[in-house]
Each structure stands twice: as C-alpha cells, then as structure tokens.
Symmetry: C2
Subunit: 154 residues, 2 copies
C-alpha cells in the first residue's frame, strides 16, 4: 500500500489538489501513501512538522488527520460517481502520546456505516460523513481524530 | 491591542518561539497581535492559509487556535513566575461559517476559572487549563475551539 506503483490516478490527483490548493499542506509535505481496501493512508515527514518539543506539532497532526478524512471522502465520492463540495464542520482530536517520528495517518471507510450516507446523494443534494483517523507512534496509538464532513452535491 | 507598541517583550518572545521552533507556524504567518486584559489575540493572513475553496484551511484555523491557547498558557505561566512544559492533550473545534478574510483569533484567560488551576503549580508539579478560542469572520462567530492543555512544571 505504501509503494508508488500502487497509487492510482485518483490518489495522484488528490495529492496534487492538496499541494496546488492548500499551501500549508505543501509546507507540511503531506503525501498520499496509498488507498486500498477502503483505507486511505496519508503521511508527512517529522521535520517540516516539528514543534518546540522536538515532536510533531499538534496543529500538524490535526491538519494531516483532517486532510486524510477529506481525502477519503473525496476518493469515495469519485468512486461513487458523484461530484461534491466537502467541508469539515467539526473536529475532535485526542493526543495520547507525542509523535517523534514521521507521521502516518490512516482513515477507513466503513461500508456498513458510511455507505448509506454516501448513497444518500443519489436522492439528496447533501449528506454528512463522520470519519475517524488514527496516527500510531512508537508502536502504539498516538492520535485519535474524529471529523464530521458536510458534503454538498454539485 | 493591535498596535506594535502595545506588544510587550513576552509577546515578541512568544512569536519568535513559534517561528523558530514550529516551521508550520512560520509558514502560516502566525503573529501575536496583542495581549491585554488577559486576552491574547493571534492573527494570520488568509493567503498562506487558503484552501481549495478559497477560504481558510480548516487545519490552519485549528492550528492558529491551538497556538493561541498554548500562547496564552505560556504568557500566564511566565506572568505567574513559573516555567513549565505546555502540551495540548485534546482539541475540539466547530466551524460555523467559512473564513474568507485574514484570521484573527482571540483566547481569554478567566481569572475565576483558570486562576486556581494555574496557582495549583505552587504546590503541585502538574495542572491543566481548558481554554476557549474564537475566530470571527464576516462580523460574526466563525470558529469555536476548546483545548485542554496539560502543564508540567520544570
């Protein structure tokens, strides 16, 4: 999942959308590492995201998770044949332990939970997705993020 | 409060701490606009924080608020004569409306609520501060942030 040759055109397009449209995402060096089995993996190096303690900046960890959720919604929307505007309405994050390594963030689409919400766009112009992202560090969970994404069909 | 001549040495030191120790804060152009009457005002231009919709990136808005809370804790800690390590443990943010202008974030220290928590450092090595930040846009509230900061005395 981490290898370049597994990244499909949509993942490349997603990353270029971030880097072209969000200067902070480019500054953070956020990359789409892979998308398989309904799980999007996003990563960023520690160096551009360092803080005064020599670990990952809380704001960067949040931003990376927020982008992962947005990216997953964007990919699934395209997969489903919809074009929509995705906006983060609310975010909640818990920092369990400091991240002193490159950041790898995972966000999973749950077909049972999220599938019906996405399918709602067939008959409605709006829907929401409540997505969860996780960042591990030192072999254990380090960050838990929950984002509520509002989607409006175009 | 927005004028340079009102910024005291601690505010200058706070901003330079951010820019020197957090590359993302420098990339976002986060500035300490002022600190008076127990309220810290932090600002950042829209351009470096723009997103694909032409409004402020959700991750930037969170980061600016997280820094404002951290900065307020840092300033009050110094005011009280303590040296401490401040870490964000949990964050919650609501995006009420898009921000299509330069970002101005306010974070207020409530002496009644936060004073005793800070004073606890006189007899304990640890305390927490639950701080609230607000960003207005278009004349109304746009972002509400709540951060739980864990402080350990050095």
């Amino acid at each position: 999942m981490f290898k370049g040759h597994d990244m499909d055109a949509n993942c490349v397009k997603l990353q270029s959308t971030w880097h072209a449209g969000i200067p902070v995402a480019a500054a953070m060096g956020v990359e789409v590492a892979g998308f398989a089995d309904d799980e999007l993996v996003v990563r960023a190096g520690l160096d551009p995201n360092i803080n005064v303690h020599g670990t990952a900046f809380a704001g960067s960890l949040y931003s990376i998770a927020a982008l992962a959720g947005w990216g997953l919604a964007w990919l699934k929307l395209r997969d489903a044949g919809f074009d929509g505007r995705i906006v983060l309405a609310e975010g909640h994050i818990q920092y369990l332990t400091a991240v002193a390594e490159d950041v790898v963030c995972r966000c999973r689409f749950d077909p049972e939970l999220h599938g019906p919400k996405l399918a709602a766009l067939a008959r409605s112009s709006r829907t929401t997705l409540r997505l969860h992202c996780e960042i591990d560090a030192g072999g254990g969970p380090a960050v838990r993020f929950e984002g509520l994404y509002a989607i409006r069909k175009r």
